[in-house]
């Protein structure tokens, strides 16, 4: 039995092959390993640590480069040519005109700025809204109950963009629940037109992205030892001082990652602004999408606009991240 021999060199992969069975009971795996096909496969691919690592690494590396990075690179390439997809006889040429078009035509600038403003303001609103919730979950709920309380919030967030956007339409419509409630109290006699305004889009986006803020905040606050705030209280700090000087500074990391996620994700919503918004709330996602509904000759412009938005959004989050790191360092000192 070769297994005994191998045990002396456990770190080295076996070139003797793997034959665990003693001859009597043959399992499925034993049979497979003993088979000639597997033996030749094993000696070809797994015979040395170097080969093993190569086999392990080559597929993921190829995958992330071609599948994760590839679409981005191709989009970047398309954004700098004059026509795509091209007819067989046509040779496309390099141009920056797609980018220039953004600055030339004023109708594109407004949605762009609106998207960034929306995303920033809504990120802040989401933070203010979810912070107490995360704090309550992490600090006031018994640890054994935390998962259930969290799960209660998770369930609605599993449901997709469309269904939840539709739910908001019913809530805010002219005959919706909010208007009905206000009317029955007697606050209004004509329905307030919530729908197709910046307000409805905001409610929709906050509703969709609150979880991306809540989870990082929760995990940051959960790690914060209760003794810190207790110590602050012993030293005479009131609740506000404790919050501003202890809790908030120590949850900056969670705030930072939550805000980054919400900001990036909320620039990418398409169905929500289409369904909840009107002509005065056109966001850049709709502008970009417009170039892909029509014939292919508009693709390069759409790609250029998408690149512009993604790079700007990444730039803003990078700046924000640097600011937050500085803030954290400043507090530690």
């Amino acid at each position: 039995m070769s297994g005994k021999v191998q045990s002396s060199t456990p770190a080295l992969p076996s070139d003797q092959g793997a034959i665990p069975q003693t001859g009597g009971a043959r399992t499925f795996w034993g049979g497979l390993v003993a088979s000639g096909v597997y033996q030749s496969f094993s000696t070809a691919l797994l015979s040395s640590p170097k080969r093993q690592f190569f086999i392990l690494a080559v597929f993921p590396v190829i995958w992330v480069i071609t599948q994760h990075l590839g679409p981005m690179l191709q989009m970047f390439y398309v954004s700098m040519v004059d026509a795509y997809p091209v007819a067989p006889s046509y040779e496309n040429s390099f141009t920056l005109d797609n980018y220039a078009r953004f600055f030339r035509e004023a109708i594109f600038v407004m949605p762009f700025i609106r998207t960034l403003v929306f995303a920033s303001v809504l990120t802040f609103c989401t933070l203010v809204l979810t912070f107490p919730v995360a704090y309550f979950l992490a600090r006031h709920v018994k640890r054994s109950n935390q998962m259930i309380f969290l799960l209660l919030l998770l369930i609605p967030f599993w449901v997709g963009e469309i269904v939840r956007t539709y739910a908001i339409m019913i809530l805010l419509g002219n005959n919706g629940a909010v208007n009905l409630l206000l009317k029955s109290i007697g606050l209004i006699d004509r329905p307030i037109p919530f729908m197709y305004t910046g307000f409805s889009v905001s409610v929709g986006i906050i509703y969709l992205s609150a979880l991306y803020m809540l989870l990082p905040l929760y995990s940051a606050l959960e790690k914060l030892p209760k003794s810190y705030t207790d110590a602050a209280a012993d030293l005479g700090a009131g609740p506000w001082t404790r919050f501003w000087r202890v809790t908030l500074p120590l949850s900056l990391e969670g705030i930072s990652s939550g805000a980054t996620l919400v900001f990036l994700i909320s620039t990418g919503y398409y169905a929500t602004p289409v369904l909840l918004g009107g002509p005065s709330t056109t966001v850049f996602a709709e502008t970009i999408a417009g170039f892909f509904h029509t014939a292919g000759d508009q693709w390069p412009t759409g790609a250029a606009f998408a690149c512009l938005m993604f790079i700007t959004a990444l730039g803003i989050t990078a700046l924000f991240g640097r600011f937050m790191t500085k803030l954290q360092k400043g507090i530690r000192r």
Binding site: A18, S42, Q74, Y270, F310
Partner: protein, 261 residues
């Protein structure tokens, strides 16, 4: 003092729960309204809209199509995600951080950009919009989530388990399949269901990469553009119930399995 803060906090929490559930509850309720016209108050009730959904062949085929896309793309994501997790949880190598960053990239790209970049990329490879393109895009988009969930579990696998398997004569591949894979089961259930739900509920990618056959969210969107109707409420409610049930089941079985180990 603390009792007061606690009370305020719990009020805020329950208000948030209400905010999160209210629209969905209203949506479900509206599906029972006995009128074509969406809006409150509801004067008479009916089950017709819900019964209609079960008989509507358009909805049923979109439903089946969404499930098919979800299951296939989840299978691909799991396979790729597990492989990448094993690489990233193994020994260090040059460029590991870069590979890790690239792995997470699809989760950070805003939806619309992800969708159109794949529309362009599919064109490059000669893949026309349709089932294949949607599955492909969903699979790529879900890989980061699988990697995050599986890595979390894989990092808790005691190294001695694999060493023991190797001592008993298993080569690395067999040791992985027979020791690590069973250990990963809760993560695979959790990650798999998570991917399935994301794929099933995804709109923007399916919308830009889809052919003539709509997935369920795309069908709901198309119906919404031509006006709200309690029929849509009924369809959306079915989606809601299925999503919730599957999610809760996954959460429970994940916790049970995690406890067992």
């Amino acid at each position: 003092m603390t009792r007061n803060t606690r009370l305020v906090m719990s009020i805020i929490y329950w208000a948030f729960v209400l905010y999160v559930f209210m629209p969905l509850v209203l949506m479900v309720t509206m599906g029972f309204k006995d009128s074509k016209f969406i809006g409150f108050p509801i004067k008479s009730w009916t089950l017709d809209w819900y019964l209609g959904v079960v008989q509507n062949s358009e909805v049923l085929s979109a439903f089946g199509y969404s499930i098919w896309i979800g299951v296939t793309s989840t299978a691909i994501s799991l396979f790729v995600g597990i492989w990448i997790s094993v690489l990233l949880n193994g020994k260090g190598f040059y460029g590991k951080t870069l590979i890790y960053g690239l792995t997470l990239l699809p989760a950070l790209i805003p939806g619309i950009i992800s969708a159109i970049s794949f529309r362009i990329y599919a064109q490059l490879w000669g893949v026309s919009p349709g089932t294949g393109a949607i599955i492909w895009c969903h699979a790529v988009h879900n890989v980061p989530f699988v990697v995050l969930i599986v890595s979390a579990r894989l990092s808790t696998l005691p190294k001695s388990y694999l060493d023991a398997a190797r001592d008993l004569g298993a080569d690395p591949l067999i040791a992985f399949i027979r020791v690590a894979l069973p250990y990963l089961k809760p993560a695979l259930i959790g990650g798999g269901v998570f991917c399935l739900l994301i794929s099933f509920d995804d709109f923007v990618r399916s919308f830009f990469l889809g052919g003539y056959q709509p997935t369920l969210p795309v069908l709901i969107f198309a119906k919404l553009r031509s006006g709200m109707s309690p029929e849509i409420n009924a369809i959306a409610t079915v989606v809601l119930v299925l999503t919730g049930a599957l999610g809760i089941w996954a959460e429970r079985s994940m916790r049970r399995l995690n406890k067992g180990n």
